[in-house]
Symmetry: C7
Subunit: 247 residues, 7 copies
């Protein structure tokens, strides 16, 4: 209780520092991210893989409506974890930013440039009063000058570049699976498999094809291409990751 009382002082009104130099509202927003189901990104020389757990709470929900991976431009996609409505707002921001770039410079926006525009926007919500931080983390995957890139954004507005990483619930388990199994020379195909294994890692009952969303951005094509449910099902079977499909 002591501890709680002290913390309470720092999370009312605007986002301010605690005596030990932490921003509680930002840390609480990180908890909101952990409450969301996981998303995973894997970068291979052949392209980037984004995968997301989207198991539905009811069989009557349209699973497509709980999309967690969103195309931002032909060559960039985002996967999210955390507060869904906040994610949608950042995705809109990213899309508008990509369009503006195209209109202004007649060129596709760079993956890093886009990520940093998003993190700068996120940071504003952690310093200036009158709004709370975004309760969401994003994986930004894309191809830039033929090279695959994979970034993460967190609720503080810090960008990180990764070979492979996870956001959302069970992140620690997934990350250590990735660290144990990632190799520099994975094919895109193998990257998809690794991403699915990682998602399965955070799940007690295995995964189903309809409960996972999967997108690749291949270095060659430079285009966002969603992976079909059939292909996902084949991967799950091949690697024996399956639980009971709820459809």
């Amino acid at each position: 209780m002591q501890g709680n009382h002290e913390q309470q002082a720092y999370d009312r009104g605007i986002t301010i520092f605690s005596p030990d130099g932490r921003l509680y509202q930002v840390e609480y927003a990180r908890e909101a991210v952990k409450r969301g189901s996981a998303s995973v990104g894997v970068r291979t020389p052949e392209g980037v893989v984004l995968a997301a757990d989207r198991r539905a709470r009811s069989p009557l929900i349209e699973e497509e409506s709980i999309e967690k991976i969103h195309g931002v431009d032909d060559h960039v996609a985002l996967a999210s974890a955390g507060h869904v409505a906040d994610a949608r707002k950042l995705i809109d921001f990213a899309r508008r930013r990509a369009q503006v770039e195209k209109l202004r410079y007649d060129e596709s926006i760079g993956v890093e440039t886009l990520t940093k525009a998003v993190t700068d926007h996120i940071q504003e919500y952690t310093q200036t009063g009158g709004a709370r931080p975004f309760g969401v983390a994003l994986l930004v995957g894309g191809v830039e000058n033929g090279e695959p890139r994979l970034f993460e954004t967190d609720p503080s507005g810090t960008p990180y570049e990764w070979q492979a990483t996870a956001i959302g619930g069970g992140r620690e388990d997934i990350q250590s699976h990735l660290e144990d199994n990632y190799e520099d020379d994975l094919s895109l195909e193998e990257g998809v498999g690794l991403a699915l294994e990682a998602i399965a890692e955070a799940s007690d009952d295995g995964i189903t094809a309809s409960g996972v969303e999967l997108t690749t951005i291949a270095a060659e094509s430079g285009r966002v291409e969603p992976v079909t449910e059939e292909t996902i099902a084949d991967h799950i079977e091949d690697r024996d990751l399956g639980g009971e499909d709820d459809e």
Copy 2:
């Protein structure tokens, strides 16, 4: 009491994160939704059904004045549950948005586009200070390119697409009735029946024709068509859902 004290810290002033990553004001707004009477949506290949419980607190009230289903455009209608005045404000927003779309692009607004415009608007009220969230959930039913669509919006500003769902008081009971009885190939007629059964599920005393509001949007016509009290009465009798009519 402990628990209460801790919570109190997070619901004054603006909507902010609690230490476990929740937005209490949004969760309390969800409670406001549960305090409202239920609305149900059922999507069939032949069209969408929206049904709402609107039993009056006094025999002298004009039941039409406690409308819970509202046409937004020729091809889209909304059903609400929760804080009535908030619902009215969102309905106005949706109608204006639909009109603007028509004026700008000379086309009817898509059901999904409309839903997401509404949820983006709702999200703003959960992040920026100076206002509380909307204490209302909506079902958005309509026809888009000949295809029936059914969406839900919640107080966090998240859109969901459903085959069949419920909002408001008794949602859990209704939802499990829908899950047990929904089938992919229902006729619109059968959809109406299922919606009425679902509403009756949440009511101890059965329902009456005047205490239920019912609208369909058929795939063929693509138009919002309120169901008459007589037709409702027939359905109630057929399925033996009736209580004593209070008129």
Copy 3:
């Protein structure tokens, strides 16, 4: 006391949700309405009756100055209960709104349109910070296309349409008198009588002609016509509702 402490958290600053989904400031504004003396509305096929209890606190006060019924336009009048200064502000709003309608469309404003403009205005004060809700309820009576209409607005900004209802102190007693005695085919004359009986219901000592304000809007004339003190006195005598007149 516990209970009080918990409540206190939700009524400072702006209007926000309590853990059980209620808006305390709005509910407290409803208490302000109950502190006011009652107003009654009765709708008959021949027209609408608005009646208000306006007993003076001193014999030296000009009873006309404690008006509770106000013409908004030729064909619409408002009766209020609750915080008088707030009522005056809403009445001004309604009058301006009616004038604008006339100037813009060269037509009288509809009773329902006017009511909803007022309730939308009221709702704004319950969601956006920096102001308290209006502590007043209104009855809106008028004739629209030859048809009598009677609406109620409450501090949440919800509109209701009624055959007969009451607002203010003693509402419950009055409403049940109305429910027991209202009939669909009352004459306007009988409606006046019913309204006076209902007002008398909430009063221990009977009523006096000068202590009641009474207005009708007849379907035929479509005009707001205040009922004279003499006519009121006759009704009181006929129905034996009289107390000792304090004039």
Copy 4:
């Protein structure tokens, strides 16, 4: 103490409702009025009388400088009770409002119109945040179309019309003296006498000519005319209301 603690919650920041529907800041502003010395208004068929108690705290103060009756226009005057600086602000508002009316319509402002402009202004300060209510009550006396009118404004922004009334300290005693002694057919002269008696009622030691301010607005002249100290002295002597003059 309990009671105090509960109340404290409702009077910080902006003016909001208490659980029982009261606006504490407005009620506290009423206390500020009671802390002021009394003013009295009496309306007779021949004109309006405004009288004010202005006993000085030191013999060296210029009694004219503690004026409590102020001309607003040729035909209207205000008497105040309560927070002096607030009164001055409302008097300025009233004077500007009267001038604008004259410039716009080339006509003197009506007494009732002026009163209601003032009360609307007062109400704004009780609903919108960022300011406290006015801690002052006013008596507005004047002649309109040859007819004497007397209004009161209170800190909530409610206007009342009176035959005779008092504001400020000792209001209850004065009011009951007025109720016992007021008659419909008083001459203006008799009205002056009644007003002086009423002021004396609230004073233990009697009144002195220099300690009272007195103004009449006669129906015939329609002009504000301050009553001279000599005339007041005569009245005091005639009615044996005198205390020891402190000059």
Copy 5:
């Protein structure tokens, strides 16, 4: 302590009413005035005298730099007591106001007009949020149409006109000395003497010529004329008011 706790509730944020109708921030600002050293004003038929106690805290301070009497225009001067920086701000306001008057109407501003412009400005700071009241009282002395005038302003924004008065520390003692010794027909010379005696009254050790600031505005010249240290010294000697001079 009880008492303290209760008070605390009323002096945070903006200036609001306490349950007994007081404005604590204004009353605390009055305390700030009492913490300042005294200023005295004496009005005689021949002119106005302003005197101020300005004993220095160190012999190295330039006594002129702790001026408490300031010319506003040729014919008006101000003496202050309380928070020095606040006084400077009001003096600037008064000077600008006097200049504007001259530019607009080509006439010197009246002493009463100036005082009321200052008090209106002060009042604003006691009603509208976002600023604290001014912690200073002023004496405004001047000549208007050949007639000497002396006004006081307090932190509430109320103007008073005086024959002779004091502001600041020891006000009560000084005021009663003035009441005992003031006469209507003092010469300006005698007025200077009375003012010095009054200042000495509030001082245990007597006064010194350099520790007092003294200005007259004679009716005849209508001009602000500072009294020299020599003249002050003569008066002190004549009246045996002297302490040990600290220069």
Copy 6:
């Protein structure tokens, strides 16, 4: 603790009065001044001396970078004590103010005019909400029409003129050394010596040439001239004020 609790109420949000008429935020800002190392000013008929203690916390710091004396214009310099970043902001303000004066009137700004512009600016931050006071005191030294002037500004925004004074840590000791040793007819040379002695007074270990910053503005040249480290070293040696130099 009692005391602390009471005080806490007065220093949150904006700067407001305490029950005894004090502005705590301003007094706390004065504490910030005391936490800074001392600066001293001495005015002689031949010019003004400004001296400042700037001992470094590390031998690797560039002592010039911890400047505490800043030229504002050719003929005016400022010495500061307290919160360094705040000082820099006021110095910028003073420089811009001096430039504007030159551009507008083609004349150098007066020392007193400049000081009062600065104190008016400081006062604003003590009355209007949304910002804290400046945590810094300044000495303003310069030559105006051939005459040396020395002013002090404090966090309340009050200007004082001095013959010799100190601001910052150890002020009391330094001031009493100045009072004991100051003479009206010091040469500028002797003034420099007195200033160094005064600085040494507040230091247990003596002073070093590199740990003191020293500037003169001679009446004759009317120009700000920093004193070189060698000259300072000579003075220290002459007067035996030296500690061990840490360079």
Copy 7:
């Protein structure tokens, strides 16, 4: 606990003074700096060295993405410690400022000018409400007119110039290593070595080439030149500073 309670009062809402003259929010922001890993700056006659510890939390992170040294212009670079997203914002500010200077004056911005523009910007966030301070310290290294300069900025907005210094975690140990080993006549090569030794000082396990970021700005070239991983590796080996490289 006492202590904590007292402090809490001073760190909510805006940045205000505590009773002992401290700005807690600024001090807490300093704690945020200490939570970051260290950066070191060394100035030699031949140029400036900036070094930063950037050990990754996972082997899969791209170490380049956790950059802590950023070029601002050809001749100036920044190293940061503390809240990463805040650092990025200040870096953007510095870059824009440098560009504006170039556009306006067609000249590269001075290192000192740039530093002071940044510290003025930081100070604003510590005095004006509605935002928290920046939780970051910066080292600004560059060449100005052929001369190497090294500055530090802290969260209060104070600029310091250094020969050699450190910011971030373990600052004290690093600083004392620098003080013991710094010499005025280091070559740039030796400066690089000293910087690496200093970084290693704060690390228990030694440093690795990939875990350190290193940049020089040579006086001769006047250009920011990142040091390659190979060169860093050589230095580490030469000085035996190595831990086990985690690549």
